[in-house]
Amino acid sequence: MITLGDYLLVSGILFSIGFAGVMLRRNLIVILMSLELMLNAANLSLVAFSRFRLDPSGLPNYNAQVFVFFIITVAAAEIAVGLAILVALFRARQTTDVKDISSLKF
């Protein structure tokens, strides 16, 4: 049978993959995608706990799923703003590589 730990393990591995992407990659777009992976890993463990701790009425705990809904909304807004900043940066510098954007002011 599938236990809660299996879902938490998948969530942990996915978070680590996203974290490794943020640490290793230099392309800003891929770094944003890795951020999405980490947010989704958190969502997976929230939903797993929501199914694990049932309400007294025997339904899943919907507080966690409302939380996931908020995370998805905020993540979509964050990605839109991040990509707009990326486009503005590309217009100014013609690069999306973090190695080329190491100065604070230009």
Binding site: L8, L24, L37, N43, A77, L86
Partner: protein, 167 residues
């Protein structure tokens, strides 16, 4: 959900999640991310969270990925040229990520509830769209309104950021 289906979708999510990080071409990364999100949506549905699974497909695999692909095409990004990899930095980054993974596994291994299976639901139909909607508009009404303002602010910010300045 049967263990076979669970491990199939879990492996699909993890393998394509790793492909996002490994691929050199940003378009290939974005398409791997779509498959990873679809596997994750299947995992959500295996936990009886059908609304969250549908939202995952619509918002992430649909809207957000279209945005990513649109930006990649707009900036006309090519695959990264092969630079000489700084092995020390790469090993450091991988080491930190592996250390995090080991800690997570350690915590899960010592977590009593992690060895338990999921309890059965009271009824086979969960009706979760209505239940989430009720929670959203009763207990979580104020955060819901605030998120609405946040999305509005983000929209205005994106328009302002991507507007060309007149010379």
């Amino acid at each position: 959900m049967s263990p076979f289906l669970f491990w199939t979708f879990a492996l699909l999510t993890l393998i394509f999640g790793a492909a996002v990080v490994v691929n050199r071409n940003p378009v290939a990364s974005a398409l791997s991310l779509v498959v990873s999100f679809l596997g994750l949506a299947a995992l959500f549905m295996s936990l009886d969270a059908f609304f969250v699974g549908i939202i995952q497909v619509l918002v992430y695999a649909g809207a957000v990925m279209v945005l990513f692909l649109f930006i990649i095409m707009l900036l006309n990004l090519q695959a990264e040229e092969r630079r000489r990899i700084n092995w020390l930095a790469a090993a450091g980054g991988t080491g930190v990520a592996v250390a995090l993974l080991v800690q997570i596994c350690f915590v899960i291994g010592h977590f009593q509830a992690a060895q338990q299976t999921f309890p059965p639901l009271a009824s086979s139909t969960t009706d979760d769209v209505r239940n989430i909607g009720t929670a959203l508009f009763s207990n979580y009404n104020l955060p819901f309104q605030i998120v609405g303002v946040l999305v509005l602010v983000a929209t205005i910010g994106v328009v302002l950021l991507s507007k060309r300045e007149p010379r």
